[in-house]
């Protein structure tokens, strides 16, 4: 096949690519995005499969069996991690408008230009040779298709790689820097990359099917013949020369690569349209990897079986096999597939690197340079686009020069895995920064610098040595002959293959410095704020989402802001309430006016103080990041303090509540105890009165056997009546407990008070006779009835009479009982001629236990409950009871009870 034909095919394919990109951009401009689908998203991620996959996997399989698969199992494992890690990276990046991996690192560690620059430089150094490798693959594939001997007429003009690089630069400039917007999305480019992914998959499957079914009788025949060949058979059960450790290293490195390679970050994070695509891409992408690797081993085995040993490099089996069978068209399909794999990688990687160079290396320097005065310029888009384009040309020129100058060296061939190992150095800084708030800028700088230094020493310098640029003794003897420093066996560690060895020592240096320095340093204000935003990307997402996109305050921002301090639910309710109070529809409020902002400020001031609220609000209203960091720091501290004091308050109020409960319980217990004592005393007192009466009459009957039958009968009647009353009393005592508890059943009925008083006089006449106290009764006949409980009324009269007789002097005592009708009701008066009651004791007379007997007789003369019970009964019946004691006239107790028709007061 002529080189011209190949060139025409290649050119035709690239034109098609431009057309696809143009179509994608057109559709995006028209608002009908073609890339908004999980499948396109997954296909764009397949930019992971470069020419190194397309050609190199077969070469690797031909040398080491199945171990090439490890490089694709890592991304599959990472696919499982996407839900946790990549989704968080996505959230963080969208919230912080992050455009590259360097930006991500810089933003996390306090927007450090130094860190961003370091990552950008490292990426440039590591990835540019990788781009060169793609150019080399294209060039080699052309040479394989058209082995024209001295085909390279002229230094540059005959070189396919140059044309490819130039076209790629054009493509990247056209579709990678078309417009400079905040999101850095390039829909046309993504469409082209997805298209390329389809092309390379179809091409590889086509070659695989051709080899397996046209050249052989199915894969079974390839395997059977391979198993029969003693030189090839060991490959069938081989998982590479690295052993178990080498396998794990490959899996881990490829996991890191899929997460942190600049081109993967570009397609997975920056170009992501919808976060939900991630879930589906997380299985579609591994499926793509599985499919593209399906025929790798059969092709490798077929190549070993068919092609003369050593005549063709394993990397070129994909092209050489169809050619050997004379199928030029299949070889051409393979060539296009390889071209697609190479160009896809070059395009995305170049754009990612150019963005990084522009945003994290060139612009920070330009903006700092006062002489240029850029910071004051309003519109920098033109300059930015210029720098991007320059960066693209620079990256591709560097890539081409690498290829041209060191194209055949070991250093270039091995750059694939070398770059994976380098990219893995980002892992501790990025993963640590996303999940560990305490990671600091110095820790990140130390970790990255240490990791890259060890990487360069254990992988890059030995690669140079193997390319012949450094004395090979550097590897075998160590620098200056120091064996402990041999780059493939640092300190003599028995770590197997160089890659595993390097991964171990780079991670020791990287993680060690990262963690150690982070622990040893304190983060600054900006760092702490950024740490919170990154680590708590999910919990702060609402607030984060609200920030950044708007220029003026949105109500949603203010609600989210207030919600952080007063709780989302309360904030929402408060704002809704405020809106309704002003006659606005809360659901339709979009932009906040002055009133709402002031309301928000007040709401915030309640939680964090007026000063903080003002600063906080100022940022939300401006919606820009200027000064936000400091404000956030202040507020985060304030929040911590508020949270702490709130917890303290909660604890102390809980304690207070508990102790109040205890106090109440204690009071209740004391009251119950007192009530019990009182009840017992009352019971004994009330039982004693009728018992005394019964005893008195029984004694009279016993001591005077000569009593007349009529008198004896009357006495016995009294005894019986008193016994009955005693029984009733016992019941009543029990009832009293009910009164106390409010459960006594009063037998309230119109009652003849005269009859009740007569009954009381009869009941107490025994005591009077015993003590020799005269009783004068004056009961007005024909009194109207009172509304009362008869037994309780008798009880009142008995209590008063026995009280009077108790305090009347024995022998000369005289008690007068009178019952008269009056204006407000009937009036019962019991007058004795005892010593009377001191004036100061009168108010306390009816209280429980108010015994003043000591003043009269020198010792307690009663339980002190009789009068108290009287008052309780009288008051319950709606009457009044009081005592008078004019000096020298004894004591006079009066009870007034309303007539039955006049009771208006409801009993308590």
């Amino acid at each position: 096949m002529s080189r011209w034909a190949i060139a025409a095919v290649a050119l035709g394919y690239l034109c098609l690519l431009f057309a696809v990109a143009r179509w994608g951009d057109r559709r995006a401009d028209a608002g009908r995005s073609v890339i908004s689908s999980p499948a396109i998203y997954a296909l764009s991620m397949a930019v992971y499969c470069t020419a190194w996959t397309f050609y190199g996997s077969v070469g690797r399989a031909a040398a080491g069996g199945i171990d090439f698969v490890a490089i694709y199992l890592g991304p599959t494992l990472a696919g499982v991690l996407w839900w946790h890690v990549t989704r968080k990276m996505l959230r963080i990046s969208k919230a912080n408008r992050i455009t590259s991996i360097a930006d991500f690192v810089a933003a996390r560690y306090g927007k450090s230009p130094l860190l961003g620059g370091l990552v950008a430089v490292v990426a440039l150094v590591v990835i540019t040779p990788y781009i060169a490798l793609q150019l080399k693959a294209v060039s080699a594939s052309v040479d394989a298709l058209a082995p024209a001997g001295s085909a390279r007429d002229g230094w540059i003009l005959g070189d396919t790689a140059f044309y490819v690089a130039a076209l790629m630069a054009a493509f990247a400039i056209l579709y990678g820097t078309r417009h400079i917007d905040a999101t850095e999305r390039h829909e046309g480019m993504v469409a082209a990359i997805a298209f390329e992914s389809i092309v390379k998959l179809v091409a590889f499957l086509a070659v695989g099917l051709y080899v397996a079914f046209a050249m052989f009788d199915g894969p079974g025949e390839i395997f059977a013949r391979a198993a029969a060949d003693p030189a090839i058979a060991p490959l069938l059960g081989s998982a590479g020369a690295g052993g178990p450790a080498g396998w794990v290293t490959l899996v881990l490195l490829s996991m890191a690569a899929i997460l942190f390679l600049p081109r993967q970050f570009q397609v997975a994070i920056v170009e992501n349209v919808d976060e939900r695509h991630l879930a589906h891409a997380s299985w579609m992408f591994p499926l793509y990897l599985l499919l593209i690797n399906l025929f790798v081993l059969p092709i490798a085995l077929a190549g070993l079986l068919v092609l003369p040993a050593g005549s063709v490099d394993g990397d070129l089996f994909v092209l050489a096999l169809p050619l050997s069978a004379g199928a030029t068209h299949v070889a051409l399909v393979a060539f296009v597939g390889g071209l697609a794999a190479a160009t896809g990688m070059v395009i995305v990687e170049t754009i990612a690197l150019a963005t990084m160079l522009c945003n994290d290396l060139v612009m920070p320097i330009l903006l700092r340079s006062r002489r240029l005065g850029l910071a004051a310029r309003a519109d920098l888009t033109g300059l930015l686009a210029g720098i991007r384009r320059g960066s693209i040309v620079l990256v591709l020129t560097l890539g081409y020069l690498y290829f041209e100058l060191i194209g055949g060296s070991y250093a270039l061939v091995s750059i694939g895995l070398l770059s994976f190992a380098a990219v893995a150095q980002f892992a501790p800084t990025i993963i640590g920064g996303m999940y560990w708030r305490g990671a600091t800028r110095l820790g990140a700088l130390g970790g990255l610098a240490g990791g890259f230094a060890v990487w360069a020493y254990t992988l890059l310098l030995p690669a140079f040595a193997r390319s012949g640029w450094i004395d090979a003794a550097f590897i075998s003897e160590g620098p200056l002959g120091i064996a402990a420093l041999r780059p493939y066996a640092l300190f003599g560690a028995p770590l197997g293959d160089p890659l595993t060895h390097a991964l171990f020592w780079t991670m020791v240096a990287n993680v060690g410095l990262f963690v150690g320095l982070s622990l040893a340093t304190r983060p600054g204000a900006t760092e702490r704020v950024q740490a919170t935003r990154f680590v708590e990307a999910f919990s702060h997402e609402e607030a984060e989402r609200a920030h950044g996109w708007g220029v003026k305050a949105r109500v949603a921002d203010l609600v989210a802001l207030a919600g952080r301090f007063v709780g989302p639910e309360r904030a929402r309710q408060a704002f809704d309430g405020h809106a309704r109070a002003r006659g606005l529809d809360p659901a339709r409020l979009e932009r906040a006016d002055a009133g709402i902002v002031r309301f928000a400020e007040r709401l915030l001031a309640g939680a964090i103080g007026a000063a903080s609220a003002r600063v906080m609000l100022a940022t939300a209203v401006k919606g820009e990041d200027v000064g936000l960091d400091e404000v956030m720091a202040v507020l985060d501290e304030a929040t911590a303090v508020i949270e702490y004091s709130r917890q303290l308050e909660q604890k102390s109020s809980a304690l207070e509540a508990a102790s109040a409960e205890l106090r109440a319980a204690n009071l209740r217990l004391q009251e119950l105890d007192r009530l019990k004592d009182e009840f017992l005393t009352t019971v004994t007192h009330e039982l004693r009165t009728p018992l005394t009466s019964i005893r008195s009459f029984s004694e009279i009957l016993r001591d005077n056997p000569g009593l007349q039958a009529g008198e004896r009968g009357a006495f016995l009647d009294i005894v019986i009546a008193e016994s009955e009353r005693l029984t009733r009393l016992i019941n009543q005592v029990l009832d009293l407990a009910k009164i106390e508890a409010g459960r006594y059943e009063w037998q309230i009925a119109p009652t003849d008070a005269g009859e009740a008083v007569s009954a009381a006089i009869a009941a107490t006449s025994g005591i009077f006779a015993e003590r020799g106290v005269a009783l004068e009764a004056g009961i007005e006949p024909g009194l109207p009835p009172v509304l009362a409980d008869r037994d309780q009324l008798v009880q009142v009269a008995v209590n008063l009479l026995s009280n009077a007789v108790k305090f009347s002097p024995a022998g000369t005592g005289r008690v007068a009982v009178s019952l008269r009708g009056g204006a407000g009701g009937i009036r019962l008066v019991v007058q004795d001629n005892g010593p009377g009651i001191a004036a100061e004791h009168l108010p306390l007379l009816f209280d429980k236990f108010s015994q003043f007997g000591d003043q009269r007789s020198g010792k307690p003369a009663g339980s002190g409950l009789g009068l108290a019970i009287c008052r309780r009964i009288v008051e319950h019946l709606g009457g009044d009871i009081f005592a008078e004691s004019p000096p020298g006239e004894g004591a006079r107790f009066s009870v007034v009870l309303p007539y039955a028709g006049e009771v208006t007061r409801t009993p308590p």
Binding site: G79, F223, P244, A279
Partner: protein, 67 residues
């Protein structure tokens, strides 16, 4: 929530299936069903993990919470 847990479990399963120990069981140049045992195992395990990932993505379609 559940999806995050399911995926964590799947990560453990995949880590075992892809571990050198599991791979090591099949590291002999024997043919099973006409294909090398090692190749067959690796692609089957790979397929199972992809299928489970697809199931997890489908099952969690409506969930959008933090992990």
């Amino acid at each position: 929530m559940r999806r995050g847990e399911r995926l964590a479990g799947l990560l453990l399963l995949a880590a075992f299936l892809f571990s050198p120990v599991a791979i090591g069981f099949f590291q002999k140049p024997a043919l099973v069903l006409g294909a090398p045992a090692l190749l067959l195992y690796v692609f089957c395990a790979w397929g199972v993990v992809v299928a489970l990932l697809a199931l997890a993505a489908r099952g969690g379609r409506d969930e959008d919470g933090p992990p």
